[in-house]
Symmetry: C2
Subunit: 405 residues, 2 copies
C-alpha cells in the first residue's frame, strides 16, 4: 500500500499553449508566445557583454564561492536599485529603498506575497492585468488571496486605454494590492497620472510593481523606470519585482530582486528583516552566478555602456520587425484595417489586435500558436517565418470578414 | 502614515553564533561552526574539477541560457539519482526514483514540506535531530508542523548511540515524518537496522532523508549512501534532500534535489507533478550554473574520477586534522580523558565531547565560538590555530575539573 495512493496527477498550470505546440506535428507549426526576446536566428537574445563577463568570472582566482547571506549579494542589490531609481535619487540617498535578492521574479512575487499575507491581513485582494495572471497572479491565488484580472486593451479601438485602468482602480476596494506591470505603453497624460495616484492614495491601494525588463521597452533604462519616480515623489510605499534576466539574457540563472520602498530607513529595515525570515525558509541562500554577471557589468562603466548599446540594438530590432517586417508586409498583402497599433505598442510583447475568431483561425487552421488575447512576442517573427505568418494573418482577417456576412 | 507601521524588526533565527563571533573584537576570536568544509588555509574547500569545469562551461559556444523547465535540468537530476542509488539499481531501472531540481537543500525541504502539508494532512508531526533543527526543522515548524528534536549523542559515554535512536522511533506517533541525516556515524548493527525499519514500517513513519554531502563522510560515495539501499529494499517510499553543494564546493549556486522514491512509476509521476506545481509558485525555474557544473563532472568518467579523488583527499585531511592535529595534541598537553570519540565520528562535523560548562568556558573565556552541544567543524582547525584551540580545550577541561571539587 503506497503512501502516495491519494495523490492525483496535477493539472499543470503552466505552458498549456507550449504543450499544444509541442504536441502538434504539423510541419508549419509556430510558437509566437515565448517569454523571452529572440534573435533573428530564433535563439534567446543574450547581451554581448554577458559572454565576456561569464569568462572573466570563471577566470577570476580571487573569487570565493561561499554561501551568500540570506539577503543575497549586497553589491548586486545596490547596483540594481541604482539602476531603478538613479544613484543620486532622493530615495536612495535617504536609505529608504532596499531589496532582497530573490530566485527570479517568481521568487520575488512569492516573497512579497508571503509578507503581505502576514502583515496586511485586512486586505487580501489583488488586482492584476490578465497577461500577468500566469504566473504572478497565481502565486497570490495559491496563497489564499482573491485575485481579480483586468485589462487596459480596448479591442475595438485597438489601443491601451488609460481610462480603463482608472475605472478599475475606481472600482477596486480600499486597501487592495495592485500589481502594476509595464504601464508605459498605456500612455497616461500628466493629468491621468495625477488622478491615478490620488485615487490610489485615497483608497490606500498598495502598489506591487513588476519590472520584468527595464530597458527593453523603449531602449532607454531611465525612461522605462520613470513611472516609479512618480510614485516615489507622491510618497507611496511599495514593493517591486525587478528582474534582470531578460535584459541581460541570462534566463536560466534565476536572478531577481524584491524591491522595497518605505517612508523611512527604520521602517525599511523592519520590512527587510521580515522578508529575510521568509527567504530563509524558502531557499536560505539565493544563487549568485547571475547576480555576479549583472553586478560586474553594472559596476564597470565601459561594460555598462556596452550593455546599454546592446539593449538599444535589441529594441531597434523589435521595432524593425514590427514596422517593416510585419506592418508593411500586412499592408502589401492587403490585410484589411490599419496596423498602426502594432508599432504604437513598445516592447517585444504586443497585442496583434485580432478578435477571438481570428486567433482561433490562426491556431487551428494555420498551426500558429498564440495566446487567446492575441498578445504575441514579436521577436519570434523572423525572415524564415514572416511570410507564412503575415499571409496567415491576412487570411484570418479576410476569412472572418467573409464569415461575418 | 506608513503602510508598514505595525511591522516589527524580525528576530533573526539564523547565525546567532556567527553574529556573536563577528561582534567579538578579541584578537584571538575563532569560529569553529562554519557549515562548509574548510581548507588548511581557512578557505571553503572547492573540488579541483570545479574550476576547470567552470571555465569549460564559460567557453562553450553551444550552450543556450534559456529558462529551464520547472522540474529543472533533466540530465542533472538523472546524474544525481544515479550517484545516490547506482545507475543499474533496481529502483532506477523500475523508474520509481525521481527528483525535482531545487534551490539548494533548503529549497528541497521547503518543497517536500509543502507537499506533506497538503497530501499527508493526518500526520503533521516531524522528528528531527537537534543539529538539523536549524534550518530544516524550522521550515516544517513555520509551516505549522509540530517539530520534536532529539539526539543520539550520549554525552556520558561520548558516542552516538543507536539505542537512543530506536527509543525515539518507538515513542514517535503513528504516521509521523522522520528526518534522517547522516546516520552512518550511528553504527547500527544489522539487527538494529532491521529493528529500526520494522518499527518504522509498522508505524507508517515517513522517512525524509537529508544527504548533505555524499562522499564527504567516509570518502566513499557508495558507502555514504548505503543506508538508502536498506530502505529501498524494504519497500519504503520516501523523500530525500540531496545537496551537491558541499561535496563539489559550489556553495553559492543554490543547487539541490528533492529525491522521491515511490512504489511504482505511476505513483512517482503523480507526486512529481504535484511537486512541480509547488516549485512553479516558489521559484518557477531553478538556477542552472551549479547543476551544469555537477552534470558535466558526473557525466565525464575522467572528471568524475578526479572529483572522487578530491573527495578522498578532503576526507583524509579531515581525519588527519582529527587524529594528529587534534587528538594527539590534546594527549601531549595532558588533557584528561580519552579523545577517541573524535576520530570515531566520521566527517567534518563531530562532537567534541565537552559538557555545557566546558563549552561556555571556551566561548566566554577563550573567545572560541562553538555551538552549545559542542559539535564543531573540525576543518576549521588548521596549523595557525591548532595550538590555541587545543590549549584552550585542555584549560577548559582542567578548569571544570577543578571547579567540580
Amino acid at each position: 500500500m503506497s503512501v502516495f495512493t491519494d495523490v492525483p496527477l496535477a493539472q499543470k498550470l503552466e505552458g498549456s499553449l507550449l504543450k499544444t505546440y509541442k504536441q502538434d506535428d504539423h510541419p508549419n507549426k509556430m510558437f509566437l508566445a515565448y517569454k523571452v526576446c529572440m534573435t533573428s536566428q530564433g535563439q534567446p537574445w543574450v547581451s554581448s557583454v554577458v559572454l565576456k563577463t561569464r569568462m572573466q568570472i570563471a577566470q577570476d582566482p580571487s573569487l570565493t564561492y561561499e554561501y551568500t547571506p540570506v539577503m543575497g549579494m549586497k553589491s548586486f542589490i545596490q547596483a540594481s536599485l541604482n539602476l531603478l531609481f538613479g544613484k543620486d535619487s532622493q530615495v536612495i540617498m535617504e536609505n529608504r529603498a532596499g531589496g532582497v535578492h530573490t530566485v527570479g521574479d517568481s521568487g520575488a512575487f512569492q516573497l512579497g506575497a508571503q509578507f503581505l499575507k502576514t502583515w496586511r491581513r485586512d486586505s487580501q485582494i489583488v488586482y492584476i492585468i490578465s497577461s500577468q495572471k500566469e504566473p504572478h497572479g497565481l502565486v497570490f491565488q495559491d496563497m489564499g488571496f482573491t485575485v481579480y484580472e483586468h485589462t487596459f486593451w480596448d479591442s475595438t479601438r485597438l489601443c491601451l486605454d488609460p481610462s480603463m485602468l482608472l475605472n478599475v482602480v475606481e472600482q477596486a476596494p480600499h486597501g487592495c494590492i495592485f500589481v502594476i506591470g509595464n504601464i508605459g505603453n498605456c500612455k497616461l497624460t500628466q493629468g491621468q497620472w495625477t488622478q491615478l495616484m490620488v485615487l490610489m492614495k485615497s483608497k490606500q491601494i498598495f502598489p506591487f510593481f513588476d519590472i520584468p525588463y527595464q530597458g527593453l521597452a523603449t531602449g532607454d533604462l531611465d525612461e522605462d523606470a520613470r513611472f516609479l519616480q512618480y510614485f516615489v515623489s507622491r510618497g507611496f510605499e511599495f514593493f517591486g519585482s525587478q528582474s534582470l534576466s531578460k535584459n541581460f539574457g541570462i534566463y536560466d540563472e534565476g536572478v531577481g530582486i524584491l524591491v522595497v520602498v518605505a517612508l523611512s530607513n527604520e521602517l525599511l529595515l523592519c520590512v527587510l528583516s521580515q522578508l529575510m525570515d521568509f527567504a530563509w525558509a524558502l531557499w536560505l541562500n539565493p544563487p549568485t552566478t547571475g547576480a555576479r554577471i549583472i553586478t560586474s557589468v553594472l559596476c564597470n562603466p565601459a561594460m555598462q555602456g556596452e550593455w546599454k548599446q546592446s539593449l538599444e540594438g535589441a529594441v531597434e530590432n523589435i521595432m524593425m520587425t514590427k514596422e517593416t517586417g510585419h506592418k508593411e508586409k500586412l499592408r502589401l498583402l492587403g490585410a484589411p484595417g490599419s496596423w498602426d497599433h502594432i508599432t504604437e505598442q513598445k516592447g517585444s510583447h504586443s497585442y496583434l489586435g485580432l478578435n477571438p475568431q481570428q486567433v482561433e483561425y490562426l491556431v487551428k487552421k494555420k498551426h500558429i500558436c498564440i495566446p487567446k488575447n492575441g498578445r504575441i512576442n514579436f521577436t519570434c517573427i523572423n525572415s524564415y517565418n514572416i511570410d507564412y505568418i503575415t499571409e496567415s494573418i491576412t487570411e484570418a482577417v479576410l476569412f472572418t470578414k467573409d464569415s461575418e456576412k
